[in-house]
């Protein structure tokens, strides 16, 4: 069994004490590609926020297996549509924020950090439009900049929240191919939130499927069976 990076142990998630989902147990291994699936309102975003430490768990615990002496670093890629277009920031400015975690208050990223961010933009194919205003980029271009920003954080795990939302079909395919590529090349752990089943089938190794107040966990082969699909979509198998 590969080395665990993140363990969810009997986790219950929700808001203001109200439980949305409970009994979530899962081990995310280092270097794995896990998809978090579920329809709208099943608790995907709540679970993601809880894993990222943005909101407390109602019960249970999350264990982060970081290297000794350092915290686990999340490379968080939010939905590109959530950003306010009022901010006059270039793609490079946004990507540079990934390096801010290593730069103390009152200090600015040095030349080395800036060069590294440029490398990340190059790796995600975003170097060509990094000097353009972020708010004026297309959905796919924004996602590439945001992935570059997440990579600039030198993450242990890349967490992507519906990265293909608001992105056209062709750009979605390219984006997912790219995420798979960096996952394989850098042995980077990936946690991808989506509701796109064909993409999950093609790219993910393991799935956490939130459905009807339950969290189903397994490999693609285990969960994408006719019986499971019929149960989830409430139709008869056959």
């Amino acid at each position: 069994m590969s080395e665990p990076l993140l363990t969810l142990d009997q986790l219950a998630i929700g808001y203001d004490g109200h439980v949305v989902l409970s009994g979530i147990s899962l081990v995310i291994s280092r270097g794995s590609f896990t998809a978090l699936l579920g329809a709208n309102g099943t608790g995907k975003s709540t679970l993601l926020k809880t894993i990222l430490g943005l909101q407390p768990a109602v019960a249970g615990r999350i264990e982060l297996h970081a290297a000794p002496g350092r915290a686990l670093i999340f490379g968080y890629v939010p939905q590109a549509t959530q950003f306010d277009p009022l901010y006059p920031l270039t793609g490079f400015d946004v990507a540079l924020m990934g390096a801010y975690g290593r730069v103390g208050p009152g200090r600015w990223p040095g030349r080395g950090e800036r060069d590294f961010v440029r490398d990340c933009l190059q790796a995600t194919g975003a170097a060509g439009f990094a000097d353009r205003k972020f708010s004026q980029l297309s959905g796919g271009q924004k996602q590439r900049v945001l992935i570059a920003r997440a990579l600039a954080a030198r993450p242990d795990i890349l967490v992507l929240d519906e990265p293909t939302a608001g992105v056209d079909v062709k750009a979605t395919r390219v984006l997912l191919e790219f995420i798979t590529q960096i996952h394989q090349e850098r042995s980077l752990t990936v946690l991808l939130v989506t509701h796109d089943l064909p993409l999950v089938r093609k790219h993910a190794q393991r799935i956490l499927w939130l459905h009807d107040g339950r969290a189903l966990h397994g490999t693609v082969a285990e969960l994408f069976t006719p019986e499971r699909m019929a149960e989830i979509f409430e139709v008869e198998a056959g």
């Binding site: 999340f74 968080y76 939010p78 006059p88 270039t90 801010y100 975690g101 200090r107 600015w108 205003k133």
Partner: protein, 297 residues
């Protein structure tokens, strides 16, 4: 031109008013930029009013305590410090309460700000209706009369605004990061609540000083209009911040020159001038966008 030479002369009688006006013009847009980016424009309206209520309470305190009226303006440092304390306390309490309610995400933010604005105005009038001496000082503030500024007032304004400038410049990266993407900042270990509080304290301090020096009308004008104008043409944060600040400082000086030449009240002249610049820049921006679209065809 003669008037300009007169204003720039070192022995100009109202030089403190010019300096204060320009200082406020430069400093207010620096925090105003974040009010615009965080879509807290209405807070920019309500806070100066709350701040002036703080001044009203502070000016009324000596009367309530039977100590006699606290002189406002050039004659009384005690009065000025008292007014500053009232202004700062009320502004900080208001901004922190409003920010807390905003974070809880319940109710209607515009409704809260509107209520705060109107209640603060009414409370100020009620408070001062019973205090004739303090009322005179407060009415000067309300009208934007910035002709009686002592050396002490000027120094206090300069020190406070320099502090705001230093903190904002030093920690610009953190404040911008937390404003733009709170979640990412939190996942990278940034103390988002601390930086939010720091920004609100800076806004509160700037508003208090500006209201006390030039009144709520000009404070509001300089908080928002230069930032809105500079935003039309800015591609980067650096352009946005520097552009807004320069525009504020320059307009305040031009406004003073215009008001002095035409014997007009300085505050309203500044604000009308800012409005005119915003309108012209808005039209110019639309023309530029249209022209670029035509060129692309």
């Amino acid at each position: 031109m003669e008037t300009l030479k007169e204003i720039l002369a070192p022995d100009f009688l109202l030089r403190n008013s010019v300096y204060t006006s320009v200082l406020v013009g430069f400093a207010c847009p620096l925090v105003g930029v974040f009010l615009v980016l965080r879509r807290l424009v209405f807070m920019g309206v309500a806070l100066p009013q709350v701040s002036s209520t703080g001044v009203a309470v502070a000016l009324s305190l000596p009367v309530w305590l039977h100590l006699g009226a606290a002189p406002h303006g050039s004659n009384g440092q005690t009065g000025h410090l008292l007014a500053l304390a009232g202004s700062t306390l009320f502004t900080l309490l208001a901004i922190l309460s409003l920010a807390f309610m905003e974070r809880r995400g319940r109710g209607l933010p515009e409704g809260r700000l509107g209520t705060v604005y109107v209640v603060a105005t009414a409370a100020s009038i009620l408070l001062l209706s019973k205090n004739r001496v303090a009322e005179a000082g407060w009415l000067d503030l309300l009208k934007g009369e910035i002709i009686t500024i002592s050396d002490f007032d000027l120094k206090l304004t300069a020190i406070a605004l320099a502090l705001v400038l230093c903190v904002l410049g030093w920690f610009h990266k953190e404040i911008l990061f937390v404003s733009f993407d709170r979640s990412m900042a939190a996942t990278l270990g940034k103390k988002v609540v601390f930086w939010d509080a720091a920004l609100y304290l800076l806004i509160g301090l700037t508003v208090s000083i500006a209201v006390l020096s030039v009144g709520p009308l000009i404070a509001f004008g300089f908080l928002l209009i230069p930032a809105l104008t500079a935003h039309l043409f800015s591609r980067t944060m650096r352009q946005f911040v520097i552009g807004a600040s320069l525009l504020g400082g320059l307009t305040s000086f031009l406004g003073f020159w215009l008001a002095y030449s035409a014997d007009l009240p300085v505050g309203p002249t500044d604000v009308v001038l800012l409005g005119a610049v915003y309108l012209i820049c808005g039209v110019l921006n639309r023309v530029l966008i249209g022209w670029k679209s035509v060129q692309r065809l």
